[in-house]
Amino acid sequence: MTEFYRSYLAVAVLILAAIGMVGFMLGLGRLIRPVRAQEQKYIPYEAGSDPTGTFGQSNVRYYVFALLFVIFDVEAVFIFPWAVNLESLGWFGLVEMTIFVVVLTLGLVYAWRKGVLRWA
């Protein structure tokens, strides 16, 4: 097996081991914990008073942040390989990345000026 596949294998083994440990602890908990069902225990807890109104209506104000995040997160995928190879790319790489970052920053400035970053 090559080193490349061993990396994947190590990650897979760790995931399985973690799942196993979580399962073991939950199983242990199932053996130990008491079960005394009472109707009131299954009401959603809202600081002591009975819940009022309906659940599920919330104004997700910062979905625009999520859109911005996608832009910058994809940028990170481009920047990491560039960062590793900057030594060999030299001035050419620096100028290219400066242009790239400036364009991205323009996007952020645009969002800023549009008032997207303000809690309206």
Partner: protein, 347 residues
């Protein structure tokens, strides 16, 4: 005892057995790390800084029994699930958070050979798997059928994605300087490089990447939802945020996930900025033996800074938090990136 330590004792084992042993060690690190941070910082430091008498009392000496008592309490609790909850998602959410914490430790080197798998994309992998916990938190908030849990989950999602970017940008500065994403490679680079020709302690990146270090600490604080960025779990506003409906073991998972992640982020910060397991002039087998202790000492130093901020700062508002990330930290991170690249190319 770790695989390489065994090899230095003259016992040869295959890579499969080594992997199994290392995996077991990691499975023990998380609960141990969570316990250590819980004891040293949550109980001792917080009690002293905030003059809390309760956690200092149980068991006599500095309240050593408090965490054990808490653990025993969690074990005895019923596993409650609110009526309207989405049962499968509700049950799975804490496991997702805990598993994402486990995965981070795959790449953290505790000595030149004491690492489970030194991936080429180490830092990238660590950041990627640590941000998987957002999914678990959103699952918990959404499936609880509780207004406060939903608000907490949404706040957490907004916060974690906003502070993921400064974290990435801070790390990119280090990657530029080291020229590699492998965490072991970054430690070696810090040992071998010099600061403008001065090389007697190498180049711990906290000196040349000080801005990056500060951005990383602040962003990690927000990722951990610790005060001053603890709006997602703010007791006085949301009764407890996304984990309000959880009891017993599942709540314990969130607790372990939080402190395990604090341990992981401290370890990553210590590795990236403080030279990791390396001490100046220590090499070879000796580095393997004392490496874990050195890393632990540096890790506790970083954790001290994070918990110090946690115990002394008041909570920000949600809009202040978002504005701080987008209007200050991200532009600062981009500037830091370009300046670092300029220095790298020019010198």
């Amino acid at each position: 005892m770790n695989a390489v330590a065994l090899t230095t004792l003259g016992i040869e084992i295959g890579w499969g057995a080594a992997l199994a042993i290392k995996t077991l060690v990691i499975l023990l690190i998380i609960p141990a790390g969570a316990l250590i941070l819980g004891y040293v910082f949550l109980l001792k430091m917080m009690s002293h800084m905030q003059s809390r008498l309760g956690p200092m009392d149980p068991g006599g000496f500095h309240g050593w029994f408090q965490l054990i008592g808490d653990g025993l309490k969690f074990v005895q609790k019923e596993d409650l699930m609110p009526d309207g909850a989405d049962r499968k998602v509700f049950a799975g959410a804490p496991a997702v958070v805990l598993i994402s914490t486990f995965l981070v430790f795959l790449v953290i080197p505790m000595g030149p050979d004491l690492v489970v798998k030194d991936l080429d994309i180490g830092v990238f992998y660590a950041l990627a798997v640590s941000s998987l916990s957002v999914i678990g938190i959103l699952m918990a908030g959404w499936s609880s059928a509780n207004k406060y849990a939903l608000l907490g989950g949404l706040r957490a999602a907004g916060q974690l994605i906003a502070y993921e970017l400064p974290l990435l940008l801070a790390v990119i500065g280090v990657v530029i300087q080291a020229g590699t994403m492998s965490l072991n490679g970054i430690v070696v680079a810090q040992q071998q490089q010099s600061i403008f020709g001065i090389d007697w302690i190498g180049n711990p990146y906290i000196l040349t990447q000080f801005v990056g270090f500060l951005i990383f600490l602040i962003a990690a604080q927000a990722e951990l939802t610790q005060t001053p960025f603890d709006m997602p779990v703010a007791e006085s506003e949301l009764v407890g945020g996304y984990h309000v409906e959880y009891t017993g073991f599942r709540f314990l998972f969130f607790f372990m996930g939080e402190y395990g992640t604090a341990f992981a982020f401290s370890a990553i910060a210590a590795t990236l900025f403080l030279g990791g397991y390396a001490l100046p002039w220590v090499e070879g087998d000796l580095a393997n033996w004392i490496g874990p202790l050195v890393l632990f000492a540096k890790l506790m130093l970083v954790a001290f800074l994070m918990f110090w901020a946690r115990f002394t700062f008041p909570r920000l508002r949600e809009d202040q938090l978002q504005a701080f990330a987008w209007k200050f930290l991200i532009p600062l991170g981009l500037a830091n990136l370009l300046v670092t690249a300029l220095f790298k190319v020019a010198f």
